[in-house]
Subunit: 357 residues, 2 copies
C-alpha cells in the first residue's frame, strides 16, 4: 500500500488520492491513508467513525469552521489511474474523482497539515458514501451520531464549483404520477381503457410549465420541473392499465418542502401522486459574517448552486454553509471527468488566504 506523500503540490496529492480507488462502499483504503497523515499532525485531534475522518484544531478561537469533502466516487469506468492532459492549452488532471471531489479533498488535506495556527478553529471532515443513498451518507451519520463534532459557526463544502463560491442549493423532489385504466386485448381496444392515453395531460402540463427564477438573499435560483422517466405497457397486443410518469422538481431554497409538495399536488391533483424523494434546499447563508469575510478573502462573486448538495445538511443543523471547490460540476460523473489544475491551486490559495488572514 503506497503511503500518501504530503511533500508534493495539492495537484499531485489529488492524483495520489484518485489513484487509490474509493467507489462508495470501498473507502477504507483511502480513509486509512488520510487518518495516518492526520495522526502525524500534533495540532489535530483525530476522530474516526466508519470511513469518515474528522481532524480538529483546538486553539480556543472565537469561531469554528467546518471544511468538509467526501472521499467516495461514482463507479470507475476505465478512467483510473489518472493522467495529465493538455487541451487547447489548458492543463487538466483527468480521471474518476478528479472533479467530484478529490481535488477538494487534497486541498483540504494539504491545508489541514500545514496550518497549525489558523485564525479560526477548524473541523476538517472527509466522509464516505456521498454518492449513494441518503441513509448511508457519512456526513448524515456524523450529524446523527456525533452532532458535537460538527458544531460550528460556518461550513465550507468542497463540492466542485470552479473554485468560486456557490451559495445554498435548490430543493429536490421526485414524484411518481400514475394513471390507471383497464386491460383488454388490443384487437378489441374499446373494451379497455388506455392508461397511456390518459397520461397525455401530464406531459402537456410538463411541456407547458414555465419554471420560476427566484431571488433568495441576492442570488437568483432557477427552478425546473421535468419528466425524468415514463413507463407503461404490458405487451404489444394489450391495452395498458397503468402508466407512470416519474417527475423531478428542483425548487428554490425559499420554498419549503411542504410548499413544494403542495405545488405538485396543485399541478397534478387529478392524478395519483406519490412523493418518492424530498429534500429541502439551503439558503445561501451569505449574510453570515464569516461568510462575508470568506467571500472577501477568496474574491469574486458568489453564485447560486442549482444542484442539491450536502450544504443542506449543514443548513438543517443551523450552520450557514457554502460550496467552494475546484472543478467544473458539469464534468462530475462524466466519463471524461477532469479538473483544470489551475483551479486546484486557486482553491488552495483562496482558502489559505482566508484561514491565515
Amino acid at each position: 500500500m503506497a503511503v500518501l506523500d504530503l511533500s508534493v503540490s495539492s495537484i499531485d496529492l489529488t492524483r495520489q488520492l484518485c489513484d487509490i480507488a474509493s467507489v462508495s462502499g470501498d473507502e477504507k483504503a483511502v480513509a486509512d491513508q488520510i487518518e495516518a497523515v492526520l495522526a502525524a499532525s500534533p495540532h489535530l485531534e483525530v476522530v474516526r467513525d466508519g470511513d469518515a475522518i474528522v481532524g480538529r484544531t483546538n486553539l480556543g478561537r472565537s469561531k469554528r469552521v467546518v471544511i468538509a469533502g467526501h472521499i467516495d466516487t461514482v463507479p470507475i469506468n476505465g478512467n483510473v489511474p489518472t493522467r495529465f492532459e493538455t487541451i487547447d492549452g489548458v492543463d487538466f488532471l483527468w480521471g474518476r474523482g478528479t472533479v467530484d471531489m478529490k481535488a477538494g479533498c487534497a486541498v483540504a488535506l494539504t491545508l489541514a497539515v500545514e496550518l497549525a495556527e489558523p485564525t479560526v478553529d477548524i473541523t476538517w471532515v472527509w466522509y464516505d458514501h456521498e454518492e449513494v443513498s441518503d441513509a448511508l451518507n457519512g456526513l448524515g451519520r456524523l450529524a446523527r451520531m456525533h452532532p458535537d463534532l460538527l458544531a460550528a459557526d460556518f461550513a465550507i463544502l468542497m463540492e466542485p464549483s470552479n473554485s468560486s463560491v456557490e451559495g445554498g442549493c435548490n430543493g429536490n423532489l421526485r414524484a411518481e404520477i400514475r394513471t390507471r385504466g383497464l386491460r383488454s386485448h388490443s384487437a378489441r381496444s374499446w373494451i379497455g381503457d388506455n392508461a397511456i392515453h390518459r397520461a397525455a395531460p401530464i406531459l402537456d402540463r410538463l411541456a407547458a410549465y414555465e419554471a420560476r427564477e427566484v431571488e433568495v438573499e441576492g442570488l437568483v435560483y432557477r427552478e425546473g420541473l421535468n419528466a425524468v422517466g415514463i413507463t407503461g405497457g404490458v405487451a404489444g397486443n394489450v391495452i395498458p392499465d397503468e402508466c407512470m410518469v416519474h417527475i423531478n422538481y428542483r425548487f428554490a431554497p425559499s420554498r419549503s418542502t411542504y410548499e413544494a409538495v403542495a405545488h405538485i399536488h396543485e399541478l397534478f391533483g387529478d392524478f395519483e401522486v406519490e412523493i418518492v424523494d424530498l429534500a429541502q434546499g439551503a439558503r445561501p447563508g451569505l449574510d453570515a459574517p464569516l461568510a462575508q469575510e470568506f467571500l472577501a478573502a477568496v474574491g469574486g462573486e458568489a453564485k447560486p448552486k442549482y444542484g442539491w448538495t450536502d450544504v443542506a445538511r449543514f443548513a438543517g443543523l443551523g450552520i450557514p454553509a457554502v460550496n467552494y471547490g475546484p472543478g467544473d460540476p458539469l464534468k462530475a460523473h462524466a466519463d471524461d471527468e477532469r479538473v483544470a489544475v489551475d483551479q486546484i491551486t486557486e482553491c488552495e490559495r483562496g482558502l489559505r488566504a482566508w484561514l491565515t488572514a
Copy 2:
C-alpha cells in the same frame, strides 16, 4: 404415455388433448398421438412436417376444403390438468388450451376419423408454433415448404369464435414512435432538451384519435389505434434524451398494409417512425360459394373477426377462409381459460352437417 381414446365424445377428447401439455416448442408428444390416430384411418393420407400433421382424403371430389387448428398453447399457469366446472348452470371444461384451441382440434380429430366419405375432399391440418413468432408458425412453414398440401377452394380455421362463423380479420401494425432530446443534469434542466416532454403531442393525438368502423363485404370491422407501451428516462436526476411510444394499429381488411403504413406516417410524420410489425388483414371471404353453403349448414349470422388470425395466411394464398371454433376468444390465454362444453358439441354438429349434407 397415454394413448388417445377416440371412442369418447369430442368434449372428453378435448380434455385428453389438453392434458398432454404442448406449450409452443413442446408439441411433439401431442403431435405423435394425433399422427398415430390418423395413421390408423385408412381413408386418410398422412404427412408429417416437424410437429405439423396433415391428413387428406383423396376421394376425387370437385372441391377441397382445409380444416386447420394449432396444437400449441401459451404457457401453463397452474391450469393443467383440466377439470369440469359448472358456473351459473353452464357446464365448462376449465384449463389451458380448452379455448385456444384444443376443443377445435378435438372436433376436427373426431370428424377426421369418422368421416370416411365427406361431400368435399378435406385436408385436415394440426400445426405447431402458432402462439409464438411468425417465423416459427407451423402453418406458415407448410405454406412455404409444401404449398401443394394446402391447395384448396376454401378453408376453415378452428380459432375460438363461440362456435359461430367469424369472417376475415383486421390487419395489424406495430410501430415505435421516437422523440429525441439532449441529456443534462436535472438540476440544470435548461441546458438539456426533454425528450419525454416532446412526446406529449404523440399521446394527445392517440387520445383524440377516432377509430373507424369499416364495412367490408357486409361485415363491419372496428379499427383501433393505441399506445401499448411507452419508455423513456435515464436516471432520476437526468433530463432524458429519448422517449419511445410503442403503438398498435388494427386496421380493416379493406386497407392494404401500404395504406396502413401511410396512415401512421400521416399521423406521426413529424416524429421518427419505425414499423416493427405489419400483417395484412383478411377479407371475410363469405362471397365464396363454399362459404355460403357452409354458413347455411352451420346456421346463424357471420360476424367480423377483430383479432388477427391465420385466416390471413389462407387469404395470402388466395384461399377464402373463415374462423369457426368453440370457445369465447376473450377467455383465450386467460388464467381461467374455459370452454362451454355445449359449444364443442355445437361446433361438431355444424361441421358434420355441412360435410355430410
